[in-house]
């Protein structure tokens, strides 16, 4: 880490003063069938430059040294692009809105400078019936995979890639499709939704594929099957409150939900029915 030579920055450099002392209240649950509870942990000397996940790594090292079971949490790229990490931080999905002056993406992009010395931080897993807890903060999100399997794809003959200019796509459609395609399937929308609905996730996929020419042949079947699957998984219904979009690390808009509804009504009128 490079430090500037000038006074004020150097004075606040993390190694020149003791780090923050934090109380962490973390959901501990040994496995899916056990009951969980919040457990308090003290962590001293937390650097404001740590990411939230690095802070959890430090806690886990401390727990392992003490011979205790480390806290299980999901993570992978730690660059805000894979959708693997995600926990409720002080009641907000990914701690969204805590990163002052910065656009926050996922939990891995939240830094400890967003907290103060002496803070108590509540950390819980995503809570929804279709997201059962595997252990502690890690949840099983395969229900999202099954929604994708129900229609979140296009069927193409594999082989040589086609000429890119063979299928023109209007710029506006390409932009909107790409905005929707930025969804990384992290599950923050479900976690933040008062109804535990997966509508924003499904709507992002329906929008992404439905706006592109390649998505047209399966458009009607896609929307009815994906909606049918999300109901079957046990997600709640959408009441258009907007918590999902506000929590989304990729800023997927509520517009996608309206588009899904529009497509679904059109598909039902056209006679599309979910396959059982």
């Amino acid at each position: 880490m490079t430090m500037t030579e000038d006074g004020p920055r150097a004075a606040t450099a993390p190694h020149e003063k003791p780090g923050m002392r934090l109380t962490l209240r973390i959901w501990r649950q040994p496995d899916a069938s056990s009951r969980g509870k919040m457990v308090d942990y003290r962590l001293d000397d937390v650097s404001p430059d740590m990411s939230f996940l690095e802070m959890l790594d430090v806690l886990n090292e401390q727990l392992i040294m003490e011979g205790q079971d480390p806290v299980a949490f999901d993570h992978d790229c730690r660059e805000g692009i894979c959708g693997m990490c995600g926990v409720m931080i002080n009641g907000r999905a990914h701690g969204n809105g805590m990163n002052e002056g910065a656009v926050q993406t996922t939990t891995c992009q939240l830094h400890m400078r967003s907290f103060k010395d002496g803070d108590t931080i509540d950390i819980e897993p995503w809570r929804a019936t279709p997201f059962p807890v595997i252990k502690d903060l890690a949840v099983d999100r395969r229900s999202f995979d099954r929604i994708i399997q129900a229609g979140g794809y296009i069927s193409v003959a594999t082989g040589t890639a086609p000429e890119a200019h063979a299928t023109p796509v209007p710029k506006k459609d390409a932009d909107n499709a790409f905005d929707a395609a930025t969804c990384i399937g992290c599950g923050a929308c479900v976690a933040a939704c008062p109804n535990a609905s997966s509508m924003l996730f499904t709507a992002a996929k329906v929008t992404h594929l439905g706006l592109l020419p390649q998505g047209q042949p399966e458009r009607n079947d896609r929307v009815v099957n994906m909606v049918s699957q999300q109901d079957r998984e046990g997600f709640g219904g959408c009441t258009n409150i907007g918590e999902c979009s506000a929590a989304c690390p990729k800023g997927i808009s509520m517009e996608t939900i309206s588009r899904l509804n529009h497509d679904l009504l059109g598909a039902l009128r056209a006679g599309a029915r979910p396959k059982s």
């Binding site: 002080n90 099954r146 609905s197 929590a247 808009s253 029915r273 979910p274």
Partner: protein
């Protein structure tokens, strides 16, 4: 993305599209639109109170004989009542069903949960709806059937209205219910537009202003008559 698996997690029998959560929302939206159109007509009718006893009672008599002589007696009124009853039943069925689905989707709540985007209006849709339903029953007992009204069923509609709204407690209940209806509409109109797939990023602002506008006009329109009676401006 999470691990890809080919294992099927389907535990329950597949449901038809007709019982999907989105279909329930469409039932909610369409029945809601019928009820909003009725509320607009009802508010205009209420404002007849300012035209005086004669006009108000005449208007209420006209409602009973609406469609005469093409339709006999109160046929038209009963058709309207049946449509409203069906709309209310459908609205409540969809709401209860989605409420239960939401409860099943998260049986264990968060220890700490902060709302980031939800409005007071959207948060009070369910319990607000329950209070509104209770109010509607009392409202019918009071002003339509006269069962809980001091003028009883024998008084004229105008007399029953005066009797009810000269009582501050009655006006207070009415005002609370009407304000809840206003908030219900504030979120409901926006939500119905989304559910019917008619919203987009460009229209979102307009839809929300329209929802606030319609909700405000209806709330004020409904509050005008009872408060005017309470303060003796109509007698």
């Amino acid at each position: 993305m999470v691990t890809v698996t080919t294992q099927s997690g389907q535990r329950r029998a597949p449901k038809a599209a007709k019982t999907s959560s989105v279909f329930k929302k469409v039932v909610m939206a369409v029945s809601g639109i019928i009820l909003v159109l009725y509320l607009i007509a009802h508010m205009i009718g209420n404002l007849k109170a300012f035209a005086g006893r004669e006009d108000f009672n005449h208007y209420s008599e006209w409602l009973r004989t609406l469609g005469n002589p093409a339709l006999p007696g109160s046929t038209a009124l009963w058709i309207i009542r049946l449509v409203l009853l069906a709309a209310v039943a459908a609205h409540i069925w969809a709401a209860v069903s989605l409420w239960r689905q939401a409860k099943r989707a998260r049986p264990q709540g968060y220890v700490t949960k902060k709302a980031v985007a939800q409005s007071y209006a959207s948060r009070t849709m369910r319990w607000g709806g329950v209070i509104i339903a209770a109010f509607v029953i009392w409202h019918l007992l009071d002003l339509t059937w006269g069962a809980v009204n001091s003028e009883g069923h024998d008084g004229t509609p105008f007399d029953r209205m005066l009797a009810s709204f000269q009582n501050p407690l009655s006006v207070a209940f009415y005002a609370i219910a009407v304000i809840l209806v206003g908030m219900h509409l504030r979120h409901g109109i926006w939500s119905a537009t989304q559910t019917l797939g008619q919203s987009n990023r460009r229209r979102e602002v307009t839809v929300n202003y329209a929802a606030t506008g319609i909700a405000t006009v209806l709330t004020l329109g409904f509050l005008l008559t009872p408060f005017s009676i309470l303060f003796g401006l109509i007698d």
